[in-house]
């Protein structure tokens, strides 16, 4: 066998074994403890010992979704950050980029995810969707078409939906406290 041991640098000799914390866990610890969230976003852990599964609550203070409280679930697996976190909206909301099952159309959650991105980038991206809903990437087609056709009507629909009303036969969840 080759003698590898002699190649080990002396500085390494002092370093004994490392913690058996997985790379994904360490990375999530780093991401979470360095979160720099504005007052409009808040994380909520159902089980404080489980940092891989939690909720994010977004309460926009401007734009047409102002006054609402929007809940997203975050599920992170052992392959993070090779794979992005799985994010879903927990409520039925009227938004062009969120479908009725809670799927979210945000590029960095799928096709544009890179390991250098972090939880902060995803959260900021989600908040941006409420400030600038995007009619070009629709998941709720009705909402997207309304936004394109008649912005005033769209804003009105948003208000109705946030109070728990229905639009075109779809009942939305009340998101105003």
């Amino acid at each position: 066998m080759i003698k590898i041991w002699s190649m080990k640098k002396n500085e390494d000799q002092a370093a004994k074994k490392r913690p058996k914390t997985s790379a994904a866990q360490i990375r999530v610890q780093k991401d979470l403890t360095e979160l720099d969230l504005p007052s409009t976003m808040q994380t909520k852990f159902a089980d404080e010992a489980d940092i891989l599964n939690f909720e994010l609550i977004i309460t926009p203070d401007e734009g047409m979704y102002k006054g609402g409280s929007f809940e997203f679930s975050f599920n992170i697996n052992a392959n993070y950050p090779h794979e992005p976190p799985k994010v879903k909206c927990k409520q039925v909301i009227y938004h062009p980029n969120v479908d009725l099952e809670g799927n979210v159309c945000l590029n960095i959650l799928r096709e544009d995810w890179k390991p250098v991105l972090n939880l902060n980038s995803v959260m900021v991206g989600l908040q941006y969707l409420f400030l600038e809903p995007n009619a070009d990437d629709p998941l709720n087609k009705e909402a997207a078409e309304e936004l394109k056709r008649n912005r005033e009507q769209f804003v009105y629909n948003v208000k109705v939906s946030m109070r728990g009303g229905s639009i075109k036969g779809v009942q939305y969840n009340k998101v105003i406290p």
């Binding site: 370093a15 913690p19 360095e34």
Partner: protein, 432 residues
């Protein structure tokens, strides 16, 4: 008792004259580039054939090639792990398997085949997951070769081998040779845990699995893949709720296939098949037998050179790109300081066992050699103190007043992260 044939001083019924004629040309004399530690002759041959224990992870496309190559180059104590069973679609390239083996364990069938074909070689199979085995198991090997198609399994074995390195025990450092292929592309690399860059160091070099924008899938499908993703990403959770999609369950795949095919028909898209459905949801990359053969051969040559020191081994990354003509490139992939597995700083600290967590944190902040502000601390599976987010800070705040020795055992490890640290820091705590 029948006398065993005696050839060149080695007695064994499975040896015959000339069996190792070619390999011995290399082992009987040194060349201009052989490692200075190489001792030509019987000792190295005895090590290779009698003592060296090698582990092969994966008995699929690469694994079949690796097992055959190792056995034919003189490794005689080979172990193989694979959790999969043989599927009919494997038979086109996984040449140790036959039609009658469909449904059986890849590891077991491959081991039997090699032992029947190459006399004197012992192959010990394990039908299960690499995660079933502990450090004691991995410690018994001299070398480990990986022929896997899973990023997750590779990250696991890589982290396990890096963690195993114990500065008091040279035997704890196990060379890892990793092979991977993707169509006409492939790579082979040599990882010397803690010495060279590790698998995790190069994670961002990987091609990420293709993902399509979710709104394209939902609204404007153009490809058969879009229809399949629509079925698996959007329709499955809608129809089945919390029931998890099991990509190894043929019933689940059939359901997806039917839903995707209906969608494809609606949008006049052609090409949705059962096997494409399986390929997309399992993220199966086309496997080409000859690419596997090249990469496996390269891995086995490195295993041979490392086991015998008969020639300089790969330092440390060989890339083969056969998609546009043939291009290959060998380079030294560098260790990343901020690698969460092999990078970062490691520090042994001695603290009074009466110290509180707060006192320890103050000490870390004061230490000039660390330069850390606002550190967050955890032990494997447990938080000690998190600076953020607010809920976790609040939940872990009571720990600040607790004795560190009540939370971390003597000799235990603490992971420290902080905004000011580009990477993480591991502390190993001793109490006085």
């Amino acid at each position: 008792m029948a006398a065993a044939a005696v050839v060149n001083g080695t007695a064994s019924s499975s040896e015959w004259e000339g069996r190792y004629y070619h390999v011995d040309q290399i082992l009987d004399r040194s060349g201009p580039r052989t490692d200075p530690s190489f001792l030509a002759g019987d000792e190295v041959k005895e090590f290779l054939r009698e003592k060296c224990k090698i582990l092969v992870i994966g008995a699929g496309g690469l694994g079949c090639e690796i097992l055959a190559n190792l056995a034919l180059s003189g490794f005689k104590d080979i172990h193989v792990i694979d959790m999969d069973t043989i599927d009919i679609s494997n038979l086109n390239r996984q040449f140790l398997f036959r039609q009658k083996d469909v449904g059986k364990s890849k590891a077991i069938v491959a081991a039997e085949f090699i032992m029947n074909r190459v006399p004197g070689v012992k192959v010990t199979p394990y039908f299960g997951k690499i995660q079933d085995k502990d450090e004691d198991y991995y410690m018994q090997f001299n070398l480990i070769i990986c022929g896997l198609d899973s990023v997750e399994a590779r990250r696991w074995i890589n982290a396990t081998l890096v963690n195993m390195v114990d500065s008091d025990n040279p035997e704890s450092l196990k060379p890892l040779i990793d092979g991977g292929t993707e169509g006409f592309k492939g790579q082979a690399r040599v990882i010397l845990p803690t010495v060279t860059s590790c698998y995790e160091c190069s994670l961002d070099m990987l091609n990420k699995p293709t993902a399509f924008p979710i709104c394209t899938i939902a609204n404007t499908p153009r490809l058969p893949e879009h229809c399949i993703e629509w079925a698996s990403v959007l329709e499955w959770p809608k129809v089945h709720g919390d029931k998890k999609l099991d990509t190894d369950n043929p019933e689940h795949i059939s359901w997806l296939y039917q839903v995707a095919a209906a969608r494809a028909k609606e949008f006049k898209i052609e090409g949705v098949t059962y096997s494409l459905t399986q390929g997309v949801v399992k993220n199966i990359i086309p496997a080409i037998a000859s690419t596997n053969a090249i990469i496996a051969a390269s891995c086995c040559n490195e295993a041979f050179k490392i086991a015998t020191s008969s020639a300089a081994y790969l330092n440390n990354y060989f890339m083969l790109i056969g998609t546009d003509g043939v291009y290959s490139y060998t380079f030294e992939h560098e260790k990343r300081d901020d690698c969460p597995v092999c990078g970062g700083q490691s520090l042994a600290i001695t603290v009074n066992k009466e110290w509180t967590v707060e006192r320890l944190i103050d000490m870390l902040i004061e230490r000039q050699d660390i330069q850390v502000k606002k550190p967050s601390l955890s032990t494997p599976g447990k938080q000690i103190y998190f600076q953020a987010p607010p809920q976790l800070e609040l939940a872990t705040r009571p720990n600040l007043e607790k004795k560190i020795s009540d939370l971390v055992p003597d000799g235990g490890e603490i992971t420290v992260t902080a905004t000011t640290l580009p990477f993480n820091l591991s502390l190993r705590v001793k109490y006085t």
